[in-house]
Point group: C2
Chain length 252, copies 2
DNA sequence: CGTCCATTTGATCAGGGTCAAGACGAGTGG
DNA sequence: CCACTCGTCTTGACCCTGATCAAATGGACG
């Protein structure tokens, strides 16, 4: 179960090799928003029920429509949440960063996952069986509250994207998507905020409802004006402010 | 508090005139999904804390960014949930039908409403103070569960719209919006399913991310081919099946 | 009967999708 | 170590969908 097509050869911080992983990162884990308000004892009990999993880059964590047997917390890596249309076009719903919950369909009474989650890079997640959800809600109201807050944020986010797609031009949407990604996952470098996982033009297109061609043209144009710097599956946001201004500007 | 700019002159089923309204519709209310799983006694207690309100057509129930002092249940009428962009463009997030909860920001830990709700026609709602939410969740887990299910459905819906806006053509989006509205609120007539509240071309445009001009052209074209029948602020879906086929067809 | 708002319809045009081709880089197997 | 291949990215040319601009028509309501 810890292996998948490339599982055997992955080298992630040796969490699985350490039988006592939960104690190892306890202090880090305790700090996650998902666990705010839990007593150390409660946290112990919650972590004791979790199964750590390592997911290879490109491997699915769960698939759309599949029975929701577990819910997850991303400890390390980045996850892409995707839906495919009947015609086979993919749309990226969101990227998940370390510390976030995912696959929490069970929290809103769904029996199946509404989307597919794929590891954008090698990931480490904690998994809990869905049956535990009602117990967790009853025993650790803080945990449930944080989970519902997450759902509320995502609902808000989804509405924001509906509004964006309805009213903004392609360049604005792409600019905003890059700014958000940079804020969410940006790693500071000499040149600016580097998006911390491989992301192709195609990926950006699937996030913003456009084509890789248009994204490519925009990125080269912005590179020339010093807003971004980009390479193969790599984007660095150089001037976040000007990019954001572009995203919010009236369509000149 | 029961009055607003047009409040005094509205004529809605005389619920407020009846001091005992809750007993009046008890059997109807008990049947709403929001209350499934509550014992009659619990339902009594829940309803005893509710304030019935009458909202005139066009009047707001709550406004975006405003402090979320209450949550609501729509008993009668139809509510349009709207967001306005900084540039002043309006986007219709959804229409609420009788029996649905609204303004449940508090359930996901928000202090303010994320959107504006406006009565599309004269409405009757029940309002509860937000402070009651934690008590309700604790005392009536079924109520909370149903509320979270509602939120899950809306999240699902929002994602569906993101996908639509990202991948479908305007005509498909408009067709799908009409089919959904007809299913949700359609009143059977001799000609087909009549959408049960005044809805303008502009409204449909704001739901689908297009312009009233394009909607107008589509509706006249579809009227000629017998798919719909429409008039001033009025749309009847004549051939739901063919309209749905159009919505799902590959962009020929 | 006049005013206001919703709707229709035509003409124009541009944003951005589609089609096509080539360049570049990275990993693979010989 | 190099040649090959595949996937990503770039760039040009073209054209279509649907927005924009403009104006007229038609109900509804005071």
């Amino acid at each position: 179960m810890f292996c998948n097509e490339a599982g055997a050869s992955i080298e992630v911080a040796g969490i699985l090799e350490n039988p006592d992983m939960s104690r190892l990162d306890r202090s880090l884990i305790a700090r996650l928003p998902a666990f705010q308000g839990l007593t150390p004892d409660d946290l112990d009990r919650v972590l004791a029920r979790a199964t750590p999993l390592r997911i290879a880059k490109g491997a699915p964590i769960f698939e759309c429509e599949q029975e929701a047997q577990s819910f997850f917390l991303l400890l390390d890596g980045h996850v892409r949440v995707v839906r495919t249309t009947p015609q086979g076009q993919e749309v990226i719903i969101r990227y998940i960063s370390p510390g976030e919950l995912l696959g929490i369909a069970i929290a809103v009474g769904r029996a199946t996952y509404p989307a597919t989650a794929v590891a954008a890079i090698d990931c480490v997640v904690l998994a809990w069986p869905s049956q535990l959800w009602p117990d967790f809600v009853a025993a650790y109201p803080g945990f449930a509250g944080n989970a519902y807050k997450t759902i509320g944020d995502r609902l808000q986010d989804a509405h924001a994207r509906v509004i964006e797609l309805s009213t903004a031009q392609v360049d604005q949407r792409v600019a905003l998507a890059l700014v958000k990604l940079a804020q969410q996952t940006g790693k500071p470098t000499a040149e600016g905020l580097l998006i911390d996982f491989p992301i192709s033009r195609q990926d950006i297109a699937e996030m913003t409802g456009t084509t890789l061609h248009t994204v490519s043209r925009l990125l080269t144009a912005w590179q020339e004006s010093g807003l971004v710097k980009s390479g193969r599956q790599k984007v660095t946001v150089v001037d976040s402010d000007r990019l954001l201004a572009l995203a919010e500007a009236a369509p000149s």
